[in-house]
């Protein structure tokens, strides 16, 4: 048999990835982050104490809420990637299951990078605005300018968390596509597992959140994300060709 052009999986996956990325909109993420930033401008925490006529209150700011909400955003986005409408986009190009999954993985990685970058830097936008709109003499110097190393660690940590959550959501989406009932059973099982086997469940979470070395954390996340992705691809391979 003769073909007019030879191609390989990676080339097709790359084309699919670019096609999907072009059709993707980050407007939702931007709006969500701006709304949370607006509400965070009055502080995300506060504590105080006093002596005599003096009362001291310390307002604390962080972009933790933005990062948490970006976690939710990537979960929703990764879940959407497995939906029928999005998967049908694959058929506009020459495709197979592997190239489709690889392009989704590439897209998830891109979403994680953009989500991690924007959520981490959003606190700097808040710092910058507060510097000019409030009394800078009442700002704590040591926390205003993060050491650049800490900033990059935070950004890398956020990207890795997002990638892990994204691949988990992608697997969840695939499970739901395979059997709609799993949309209810899987979260319920997870909840029951967290209640009944709370120690084991917490240990599983601690594997990630108690890791102090960024390098080891990266290894753990990439390993877990790889496992989740392989499972997703296996499930996808067992589905009908076009639903």
């Amino acid at each position: 048999m003769m073909y007019s052009a030879e191609t390989n999986v990676l080339t097709v996956a790359r084309k699919q990835y670019l096609y999907k990325l072009k059709s993707f909109s980050f407007t939702g993420l931007i709006l969500m982050q701006l709304i949370i930033l607006f509400f965070s401008s009055s502080g995300t925490g506060m504590y105080g104490f006093g002596s005599g006529s003096l009362h001291i209150s310390v307002k604390t700011y962080s972009s933790d809420v933005v990062v948490f909400c970006t976690f939710i955003w990537i979960f929703v986005m990764a879940f959407s990637l497995t939906k029928k409408g999005f998967k049908n986009m694959d058929f506009t190009l020459v495709t197979n299951r592997l190239s489709s999954s690889l392009s989704d993985l590439g897209l998830l990685a891109t979403l994680s990078i953009i989500g991690g970058f924007t959520s981490t830097l959003s606190s700097f936008l808040l710092r910058f605005i507060l510097y000019f709109t409030t009394d800078s003499g009442m700002m704590v110097q040591s926390s205003f300018k993060l050491p650049p190393g800490l900033l990059f660690q935070g950004m890398a940590g956020a990207v890795l968390y997002l990638f892990l959550i994204g691949t988990a959501a992608y697997l969840f989406g695939m499970l739901v596509e395979a059997n709609k009932l799993l949309a209810f059973i899987a979260p319920a099982l997870l909840f029951v597992l967290a209640r009944v086997q709370s120690k084991g469940f917490l240990h599983l979470i601690r594997v990630f959140i108690d890791e102090n070395s960024l390098l080891v954390f990266s290894g753990k996340v990439l390993l877990a994300a790889g496992l989740l992705f392989v499972l997703s691809t296996l499930i996808y391979n067992r589905m009908e060709v076009r639903r």
Binding site: T27, S53, H55, V67, F124
Partner: protein, 238 residues
């Protein structure tokens, strides 16, 4: 951290189910901004974030509240001064001792040879130090001094208000300022960054806090008789 994750899961799961049910019924989804506008918006947003990050690092630092260590004040020195404040005053070295700050300085013209001290109940200064001058110049000089006030390693001395002093017909009224609040703003690193610094943070010493000591230093004419509230009043030798 773990509690917040569990809380997040509990909030998160119903949200997921809700999203799933909604998405099943929704046939077409159009983004709020489509095509090129969305791309430009994303680029613009990322650019703004990057510029604000660079801007923050370029901002001048001198106005910020600074930790003690950056003001070259060892904590040991700050801790020791309040106990020695009266001795320092006796030596006449309040103005020259590092770590003792003059908060306010005022002078009052007085007629007659009697002065009544009226100290309000809310006045929380440790001591009122009175020194008689060598002359009868009819002037009272009042200075307030304080040692470093430190809250969680941050030197807030400059933000503390001095006492309110008024002279009304030979009655020197001394009171603390009206109740006031200092609101500081502190920025915490994200939990994603804190995770990788926990080992370092655990080894850090406890934060140091002290409201310091405050004294009122009165220099009065030699012939002036002082009466009224004499609690915490110490007469210094000439």
């Amino acid at each position: 951290m773990l509690n917040s994750i569990i809380l997040l899961l509990i909030v998160f799961l119903p949200f997921l189910l809700f999203f799933f049910l909604i998405s099943q019924n929704k046939k077409s989804k159009r983004p709020l901004f489509s095509g090129l506008l969305s791309k430009y918006l994303t680029l613009f947003y990322c650019g703004i974030l990057l510029l604000s990050c660079l801007g923050v690092y370029a901002l001048p630092e001198r106005t910020f509240i600074q930790p003690l260590e950056q003001q070259n004040q060892p904590i040991g020195q700050v801790q020791g001064i309040p106990d020695r404040l009266v001795d320092i005053a006796k030596k006449g070295a309040l103005d020259s001792t590092p770590g003792v700050y003059k908060k306010a300085d005022s002078s009052f013209q007085i007629t007659g040879d009697q002065l009544e001290l009226v100290i309000s109940d809310n006045f929380d200064y440790q001591n009122i130090l009175i020194r008689r001058k060598g002359s009868n110049d009819g002037m009272i000089q009042v200075s307030s001094y304080m040692t470093s006030s430190v809250v969680q390693d941050l030197d807030i001395t400059r933000n503390i208000l001095p006492p309110v002093i008024k002279l009304e017909s030979n009655r020197l009224k001394i009171s603390s300022p009206e109740r006031y609040t200092l609101t500081f703003r502190s920025f915490n690193p994200d939990f994603t960054a804190q995770q990788f610094t926990e080992g370092i943070m655990r080894s850090e010493p406890e934060h140091f806090s002290t409201f310091g000591s405050q004294v009122l230093y009165l220099q009065i004419p030699n012939n002036l008789k002082v009466f009224g509230n004499q609690m915490n009043v110490i007469y210094l030798e000439k």
